[in-house]
């Protein structure tokens, strides 16, 4: 017991020492606040690995403003309280002038008061809740599409697919509910009838009750917003119920390759709205960068299926580097100014921030491209409209 206490004390003393460690002058620190343990560990790890590729690439090319960049990666444990604490640590102990994070919307929302408190900007790479850019937080710059942007891009596609009536099945969090609200608003305006709105808990594994209800409905299409693991389960359970309708998934966390690998034939015929199409890097808005990223990802031995998630980490760090370059200095205020000047070819379209939210305190929102892909016979192909 004496030992335990002494070790604890030693560890605390060590923590204190680390927190006061000085920042080296020849590097620019970038904070990365991602879920590496807990419910979202898989996605957070993918994004972090994508970020590492970008940092290594930038440093190999000589860094930014003549300095190397250094990622300070912290785990927010998939927990909002921790996400806020991590932001605090990155800003005050590690003295990072800019951060990327925090994957989930509730995690990102929890960090946002800290950004205002310390006037440090954060690049939001994944979160899609509308609230993030409408609160009047001028330190938020988002490259992920909120569901309203995704829905807007889907408008013309919906007409061409000939959808008459649609049901929704969404994960019961801000992400799913937000998507259902934005997509039903858009579809109604296009004259499409909106039917059921079913939800599922993010930890649920058995959705057969919801699916039985959806099977009995007269809608021709089901729109689903969920992460890849639940999608896999849904497709298997749909097959078991003999549910055969047009399926379109949204939200950008689908990992179609993982679906093909794990849901097998049950995924055939499903359509997915994605923001990055790693299967055809040559057709992407920035073929050279896409090919480099995908090759590097494979070279490091990561699972190819992760690219649809990890490209956000890669684009996020590149955007931050571009903002530092454009701002011309490494203090938070210059980087904020730099963000507004960013004009970068991202892996999924141009990254350029437009003003969003209340006047005078606007957040930045970039509008990426959205693609509809289809899985057929275990192969992924673009949907021909």
């Amino acid at each position: 017991m004496q030992m335990t206490r002494r070790t604890t004390l030693a560890a605390m003393a060590f923590a204190l020492m680390c927190s006061t460690a000085f920042a080296a002058d020849d590097t620019i620190k970038i904070g990365v606040n991602e879920p590496l343990t807990g419910a979202f560990a898989a996605s957070g790890t993918y994004v972090t690995n994508g970020a590492k590729i970008a940092a290594d690439e930038i440093n190999a090319k000589g860094g930014v403003l003549g300095k190397k960049i250094e990622l300070v990666i912290e785990d927010n444990k998939s927990n909002p309280t921790e996400a806020a604490a991590v932001a605090e640590k990155l800003i005050t102990s590690d003295k990072v002038p800019v951060m990327m994070g925090a994957w989930g919307s509730s995690l990102t929302l929890a960090t946002m008061p800290k950004l205002e408190e310390y006037s440090v900007p954060m690049l939001v790479e994944t979160s899609s809740s509308g609230k993030i850019t409408t609160q009047g937080n001028p330190y938020v710059f988002r490259i992920a599409p909120p569901s309203a942007v995704e829905a807007e891009a889907f408008g013309p596609i919906a007409a061409k697919l000939g959808i008459k009536k649609v049901d929704f099945l969404v994960i019961n969090n801000d992400w799913g509910r937000g998507a259902a609200a934005d997509f039903s608003k858009l579809l109604k305006s296009k004259g499409v009838e909106v039917g059921l709105m079913e939800t599922m808990d993010q930890s649920s594994q058995d959705m057969s009750a919801q699916l039985a209800k959806l099977k009995a409905s007269d809608a021709d299409t089901i729109m689903i917003t969920a992460a890849v693991d639940q999608l896999t389960l849904l497709f298997k359970q749909m097959a078991a119920l003999g549910l055969k309708k047009r399926i379109i998934t949204t939200g950008g966390s689908q990992n179609p390759d993982q679906i093909v690998a794990q849901a097998g034939a049950t995924a055939n015929g499903t359509m997915h709205l994605v923001t990055f199409a790693p299967w055809w890097p040559e057709k992407s808005p920035n073929p050279q960068a896409a090919e480099y990223f995908i090759n590097e990802w494979k070279k490091r031995g990561y699972d190819f299926a992760g690219t649809t998630e990890s490209f956000r980490g890669y684009d996020g760090i590149r955007t931050i580097a571009a903002a530092i370059q454009a701002g011309g200095a490494t203090d938070p205020a210059s980087i904020v100014k730099g963000f507004w000047k960013v004009d970068l070819k991202g892996l999924n379209g141009p990254i350029k921030f437009e003003k969003a939210g209340p006047a005078g305190k606007e957040s930045g929102q970039s509008k990426p491209e959205v693609y509809l892909i289809e899985i057929s016979e275990g192969k992924i192909s673009p949907v021909k409209l």
């Binding site: 009750a209 890849v228 896999t232 097959a239 078991a240």
Partner: protein, 290 residues
């Protein structure tokens, strides 16, 4: 009506696995008075054991299954021997916290070793469902249902028809008297925990291929197992079996006809209702524990 029939079939199939989960916990809870917070972690462990045996070792599905169950049995015996046996005289809170600590270690260890990305376990069953009239059902679920029933019957027989089972029941009634009668209580405790863990691992190994395998899969399973145990009463196998089916029906009907958002609340609402009416569970003997 068609939709209703489908709900009934879904609930029946789900109930079998819920029962399996509940029985393992109720044995440990009832006989050892341990709130076993490793139950979910062992469930996950069983699923990963199945994944390792079937995918990494390439064993046949039907061979991998018993391998995973035995792995759970051994894991349970180790936990009981190393962590619970020295704490035999401690109170319920202490053992519960030790179990929580063990659960944290098991879950984080799984995440560390396998990463957070979900794994799929392939099954030898066809993907096309079995269709009978308006109702369809996948073959793998049908298999899981019958395998679960077989395990439940086997456990029931072990408890009620063997020497070990008699000793377990005697320990449940009164462990001091059982010790005086010559029952090796320590051995019974180890056996109980090992059997309970094997059943949790079996549930994981059976459901891993139906769902997907990932480190946090045990969290929800554990909560449901607690609900089932309380519905059925501590230490009652038939109670846990019926409790498992009640929970499955409540969830399925609740999600189908009330609100899918409250699907996972159904179980808890039932528990609160049951405890208000009959505080010791639906099928328990009339004693008060604690």
């Amino acid at each position: 009506m068609d939709q209703f029939l489908q709900h009934i079939v879904n609930a029946s199939v789900l109930g079998g696995t819920y029962a399996l989960l509940g029985i393992g916990l109720t044995l440990i809870f009832g006989i050892m008075n341990v709130v076993n917070f490793t139950h979910g972690a062992i469930y996950t462990f069983g699923a990963y054991a199945m994944y390792l045996a079937a995918v990494a070792l390439g064993l046949n599905f039907f061979v991998a299954l018993p391998v995973a169950v035995v792995a759970g049995l051994i894991m349970g015996a180790i936990i009981e021997f190393a962590l619970l046996r020295p704490l035999r005289r401690s109170d319920i809170d202490t053992t519960m916290l030790v179990m929580i600590g063990t659960g944290i270690i098991l879950q984080s260890g799984t995440l560390w070793i396998f990463g957070g990305v979900a794994k799929a376990v392939p099954t030898p069953f066809p993907t096309e469902p079995l269709v009978i009239g308006p109702v369809s059902l996948s073959y793998v679920r049908l298999f899981v249902f019958f395998a679960a029933l077989a395990l439940i019957v086997l456990t029931y027989f072990t408890i009620n028809g063997t020497k070990l089972g008699r000793a377990m029941r005697a320990t449940f009634q009164d462990h001091d008297t059982a010790a005086l009668m010559g029952v090796n209580v320590s051995l019974i405790y180890t056996a109980t925990f090992a059997i309970g863990s094997a059943l949790a691992a079996a549930a994981g190994a059976l459901l891993g291929p139906v769902y997907v395998v990932f480190p946090q899969m045990g969290d929800l399973a554990a909560v449901k197992a607690f609900a089932i145990v309380i519905l059925g009463g501590l230490g009652s196998i038939s109670g846990a079996t019926i409790g498992g089916f009640i929970l499955a029906f409540a969830e399925e009907i609740g999600a189908g006809y009330i609100s899918s958002g409250y699907r996972d609340a159904m179980g808890f609402l039932i528990i609160i209702a049951v405890l208000l009416v009959k505080p010791t569970g639906l099928f328990a003997r009339a004693e008060r524990i604690g």
